[in-house]
């Protein structure tokens, strides 16, 4: 992966970013994440805690192989929402990255559609989702912090 994403212009690998060649003293500098950074898939991103392999810096190099809701409808929704959050934070500091913005829009569309389907089958995630429900089902089902043997349906 490092070779594949080596940037000949900056000489940077995918775990690197750019710094100013000259910069004011007495200031802290974090490298900017480059615009063409490689990305995990949604499921991988949620499991690893970041969309970006370049920022994936695990303690003792121990990493999650999966998450408890992998392969469930709620797990899929979480993965899409997590991608939205990651792209949201990335775009806050890279507002002119058109590719990332296009991806954000695409994922928002998928998440909205996924949420609508989820809600129709399993009940509301937000009070406003009750628009699609036949009864007041807000109180049904486990709350997110409750332990459920077969959760994440």
């Amino acid at each position: 992966m490092a070779e594949k994403h080596h940037n000949p212009e900056t000489g940077c690998g995918y775990k690197n970013g750019t710094l100013p060649s000259c910069a004011p003293l007495a200031a802290a500098y974090v490298p900017m994440q480059p615009k063409d950074s490689p990305q995990y898939t949604g499921e991988e991103a949620l499991t690893r805690g970041t969309l970006f392999p370049g920022l994936d810096l695990p303690f003792m190099n121990l990493v999650n192989q999966d998450h408890p809701y992998a392969g469930t409808p709620l797990g899929e929704l979480m993965a899409l929402d997590f991608m939205i959050k990651e792209l949201n934070l990335y775009l806050d500091t890279h507002a002119d990255d058109k590719t990332a913005f296009a991806m954000l829009q695409e994922v928002i569309g998928l998440a909205a559609e996924g949420k609508r389907r989820y809600t129709q089958q399993f009940g509301p995630l937000e009070v406003k989702d009750l628009a699609w429900c036949e009864r007041y089902t807000w109180l049904n089902g486990p709350w997110p912090w409750e332990y459920a043997e077969r959760s994440g349906k």
Binding site: A27, R48, T50, L55, M78, T93, A148
Partner: protein, 198 residues
């Protein structure tokens, strides 16, 4: 305004209760570098941020931290379910139990109640962003230490996710500081406080 979504950011599913571990992890609920403090720090600092990208970032990360506060609450709730009196005494959870039973209370691992004394809102963009970068590192170290102390794979799974978020947030705050520096006088970036001086 805030709207509640009835799901966690990342699933918490802990098969085995473990009150001794809960007594340690509670520090990320209401401790000096915990998620409540993180959320309050960013959601309070944002008012004096002088640039739109900083107002946005502090809001967006502050909201995510509230979601992490909920995840830590879920971990504590699941680690302390169905406890027997014997488990409570033998695990050392008794000193927490006597005050809170199996309720989830924001406190340090040492028992000090949550205090805003561990966060800062200085009203200076460089100072506040530097504080935020330090805060993310402190939280990362705390998660490193929790991973050292935990022998439960279900807990480790969630903690690894939360720890990685600290790394990503550090990067974003660092980038925000870079964007800020570029807007300032390159001969003296400390000539004014752009959060206050117009």
């Amino acid at each position: 305004m805030f709207v509640y979504e009835k799901k966690l950011q990342y699933p918490v599913k802990i098969a085995r209760p473990n009150p001794a571990l809960a007594k340690v992890i509670v520090t990320q609920f209401g401790g000096p570098d915990g998620e409540l403090g993180a959320s309050l720090r960013y959601l309070s600092q944002r008012y004096s941020m002088p640039y739109p990208e900083l107002r946005g970032l502090l809001t967006d990360i502050g909201v995510e931290e509230l979601g992490h506060f909920e995840m830590i609450g879920a971990i504590l709730h699941q680690l302390t379910r169905n406890l027997s009196e014997r488990q409570i005494k033998e695990s050392g959870f008794d000193t927490y139990f006597v005050d809170h039973t199996a309720g989830v209370y924001p406190q340090f691992a040492s028992g000090t109640p949550y205090t805003a004394a561990t966060i800062a809102v200085k009203g200076d963009v460089i100072t506040d962003l530097t504080e935020d970068m330090g805060a993310e590192q402190k939280a990362r170290t705390t998660y490193d230490n929790i991973l050292r102390l935990s022998d439960d794979p279900d807990v480790d799974n969630v903690i690894r996710f939360l720890r990685e978020r600290e790394v990503v947030h550090f990067q974003r705050f660092g980038e925000a500081l870079r964007l800020t520096q570029e807007k300032l006088d390159q001969k003296n970036i400390y000539a004014i406080n752009p959060s206050f001086d117009k």
